[in-house]
């Protein structure tokens, strides 16, 4: 009820940075622990490998960050990723040249997002339901195209898959990482230095207020889903560079990984608070868990899921405590 400013506590870190810092500390601790426990773990390439293996997830999580910051949720991203790989692989097989294929895939993703955003806003339906429907729709469309995995042998795509960009000191990244990094930079700029970005924060903070303040809430809400759809399609392209195939069973459950990365990165599920840098850290934490488990060797890969589940619990509880103290 009261928001008294308590004197003498000025030197502390602003509370809005706490979740991101906790995630950063967690990442460093995991990295250090891995380095002590396993030989050959504490190298720069390990982190770069995490990026290489999760570039598509990072791209998708960036889109998800927009949606969650604006107070929504997008469950359709995994299916849109799969649909994108499927459309790309099929068209390439039919002899389309790669660049128009990429354009078309990105367009399909953005239009799907736009449609869902418009339904969510104009019919005032819960985003959960609308994007759940979108999830089934996109996944179903994959199977109307084909039930089997379709290999990609287009030279441009294989070039993307096999190129190693040397960073010196025995470290390298894939072109997918470059795409992901560009997306992250563009998104961070948009969120913090453009009107659209600030409107996203305002809408997520208090939609009613944002409306009364005269902000274009409708446009903002539809924009975030469009961005998320676009990012999913781009993530799908990055995934098809990585897998060199299109398949209706690609990226099953990926929406949950993306939401998990965003939440672990310290973005409040209620919207309005969080940073894109947190999402990057969230993806890194998820990837590092997988890496540690593969280094351990004896553990089943399902332990990744268990650990992610536990982490999510911890982070949601932490968010709750932080917001509760703010009251």
């Amino acid at each position: 009820m009261t928001v008294a400013t308590v004197p003498g506590r000025k030197a502390r870190v602003p509370r809005r940075y706490v979740p991101v810092l906790v995630t950063a500390a967690l990442f460093l601790a995991m990295f250090a622990a891995g380095g002590i426990r396993y030989e050959g773990f504490a190298t720069g390439q390990i982190i770069l490998n995490v990026f290489i293996d999760n570039a598509f997830l990072l791209v998708v999580a960036v889109g998800m960050t927009f949606v969650i910051l604006a107070g929504g949720i997008d469950l359709s991203v995994g299916s849109v990723v799969a649909l994108s790989t499927m459309v790309a692989a099929t068209l390439l097989k039919q002899g389309w040249s790669p660049w128009p294929v990429m354009m078309l895939v990105l367009l399909i993703g953005a239009v799907l997002g736009l449609g869902m955003g418009a339904i969510i806003h104009y019919f005032e339906i819960q985003p959960f339901i609308v994007t759940l429907a979108g999830m089934f729709l996109a996944r179903g469309l994959c199977y109307t195209i084909g039930a089997r995995s379709i290999p990609v042998d287009d030279p441009v795509f294989t070039a993307f898959a096999q190129t190693r960009i040397d960073l010196g000191a025995d470290m390298w990244i894939s072109p997918g990482v470059v795409v992901a990094a560009a997306v992250v930079v563009a998104a961070a700029y948009t969120l913090h230095h453009t009107r659209l970005g600030r409107n996203v924060y305002a809408t997520g903070g208090n939609e009613q207020s944002a409306l009364l303040m005269g902000l274009p809430v409708a446009r903002t809400k539809i924009a975030v889903y469009t961005i998320s759809g676009f990012c999913s399609a781009l993530g799908g392209l990055v995934l098809s560079f990585y897998m060199l195939s299109g398949y209706g069973l690609h990226a099953v459950g990926m929406e949950l990984d993306a939401i998990g990365a965003v939440v672990i990165g310290g973005t409040l599920l209620t919207g309005g608070s969080g940073y894109l840098f947190g999402t990057v850290l969230g993806v890194l934490v998820l990837g590092l868990i997988q890496t540690i488990i593969s280094f351990e060797g004896t553990l089943s890969s399902w332990w990744t899921r268990i650990l992610i589940g536990l982490l999510l619990f911890v982070f949601i509880l932490m968010q709750r405590l932080i917001t509760a103290r703010r009251r």
Partner: protein
């Protein structure tokens, strides 16, 4: 001397909601460089008129002219661009954003699409400086008090080239100094030729600041008057449409009571909320709680009701020790709590008046034993007429009722439980004089009937008029418990609040 041409003129405005005629042929004009008060009881149509003016609602009939030209605003944004800015009672800003952003968002200075933060911060600081407010503009808005947030909202309203500034109950959550600061700002804006439409329930404030007033009653225009030519008594009579004598003043002080102790709190406390306190409430007794905002008034109520868990101490009800872990347990012991946030913590806006009233009774009976519809209708009809809830239609969604009537619905919900202790947290805040007097009279009647009441209010006069005993809170501590006898005055009470000791 002929008055200057009105900047804003509304003629024959009508607005219909399902089942309610909110405005009916209302005329209104606003002159540049004046503070114009819009007066009326709750439900008189003030809020509707403002929302029509600012484009939140469409108009069913009538016309609006701004600076001589007819206008029709499709939305709040259009009204703002035309120079009509509004600051609402509940601060409508985004607490998660910085002060700077709250002032400039939507109109950020940009270069090639990139927001120029430095320039934005400078402009925000400058605008706040015009209001004599010097704060860290890069801190999040949530770090500041409601008063500061209100000022930020005004600064935002001024950032556009505002010709008309609407202040809808801006003072209801401000303390005296903050109100004085707001009035200084309003006078300065007035000198700059801005027309200010001001809504407040505090008559003293109206008489201090307003030049002219328009009075509405039941969605109709009563008249437009110069403040200097209308006495307070006449104003009240025009607002409520009755003679003041009908308002029947309560006797100065309620007679003292010697009932059996009903609720005894011994060393009850919760860390960071309220220091351990000892308080006894007797049957048929009204205990007032006085103290500043944030002094721990609500916290005491929440502990007694089990809405928060007590960290220390014990509670006895009717002589038996009880541990109230949840409000449900408290309701079983026939305690009732009317929260101060009637919108957030009390009413369900989409349910009807009837459904809202029977909610607590139904919950107390359990969902397996529904209350027969006929019994519901009887109960609801009884309380709708007893509390004079308007409109007297039990099937009206509560959302469509005015603040004072919503408060009465909430009160009715608890009264049908026939509680032994009724906790009222700021029951009269933000509601008009007529409804206020009705609620006060009701409290006196209930206590006469043997019900104990814990009455929390920021208005000391009200506490004094109703209470048998007054508990004074300061800095989250119960500092004094004073019998309300001849010697106790608002002055003495204020002194206790200020000094922290009974004088």
């Amino acid at each position: 001397m002929a008055p200057p041409a009105p900047i804003l003129r509304m003629r024959g405005i009508g607005k219909q909601f399902p089942g309610v005629k909110a405005l009916d042929g209302v005329d209104f004009r606003l002159l540049p460089g004046e503070v114009h008060a819009l007066m009326g009881e709750n439900g008189a149509g003030k809020s509707t008129l403002i929302k029509v003016l600012t484009g939140v609602y469409g108009i069913d009939s009538g016309e609006v002219e701004l600076a001589g030209r007819p206008v029709a605003f499709p939305g709040p944004q259009a009204a703002r661009q035309a120079g009509i800015s509004t600051v609402y009672q509940e601060v409508n800003l985004c607490p998660n954003l910085s002060v700077t952003e709250n002032v400039v968002i939507g109109r950020e200075p940009r270069r090639l699409g990139r927001i120029r933060w430095k320039e934005a911060r400078r402009r925000a600081a400058e605008l706040l400086g015009r209001l004599d407010l010097h704060i860290d503009v890069s801190a999040p808005l949530s770090a500041y008090s409601p008063a500061v947030q209100q000022m930020v909202a005004i600064a935002r309203a001024l950032d556009v080239d505002a010709r008309v500034l609407i202040l809808d109950e801006p003072t209801s959550s401000l303390d005296k100094d903050e109100v004085a600061q707001l009035f200084r700002v309003m006078r300065r804006l007035k000198e700059q030729g801005i027309a200010i439409l001001f809504v407040s329930h505090f008559l003293d404030q109206i008489y201090e600041i307003a030049d002219r007033m328009t009075i509405l009653r039941n969605g109709r225009l009563v008249g437009e008057y110069l403040t200097s030519e209308l006495s307070q008594v006449d104003l009240v009579a025009k607002m409520i449409g009755r003679e003041l004598a009908d308002l029947e003043r309560l006797e100065d002080r309620p007679p003292a009571r010697e009932g059996a102790p009903l609720v005894e709190a011994d060393g009850l406390g919760r860390s960071r909320a309220i220091e351990p306190f000892t308080l006894t409430i007797r049957e048929g007794e009204v205990v007032g709680l006085a103290g500043l905002l944030g002094s721990g008034r609500t916290e005491v109520a929440r502990l007694l009701f089990g809405a928060d868990h007590a960290g220390t101490g014990s509670l006895r009800i009717g002589g038996e020790p009880v541990g109230l872990r949840t409000p449900r347990a408290a309701i079983r012991h026939r305690l009732a709590f009317c929260s101060e946030n009637r919108r957030e913590e009390g009413l369900v806006p989409d349910l009807t008046v009837r459904e809202n009233i029977v909610l607590a009774l139904q919950a107390a009976r359990g969902w397996t034993r529904p209350i027969p519809r006929r019994r519901q209708d009887e109960l609801v009809a009884k309380y709708v007429s007893a509390l004079n809830i308007r409109p007297a239609d039990p099937e009206q969604p509560v959302r469509n009722l005015s603040g004072g009537n919503q408060q009465k619905v909430l009160l009715a919900r608890w009264l049908i439980l026939e509680p032994r202790l009724l906790i009222l947290d700021e029951p009269t805040r933000g509601i008009d004089i007529g409804a206020k007097a009705e609620i006060q009279r009701l409290v006196a009647e209930l206590s006469g009937g043997g019900m104990a009441v814990l009455f929390i209010s920021a208005e000391l006069e009200e506490v004094l008029r109703l209470s048998h005993r007054v508990g004074v809170l300061r800095d989250r501590r119960l500092v004094a418990e004073i019998d309300n006898d001849e010697r106790l005055t608002t002055g003495a009470l204020m002194e206790t609040i200020a000094s922290g000791a009974a004088s």
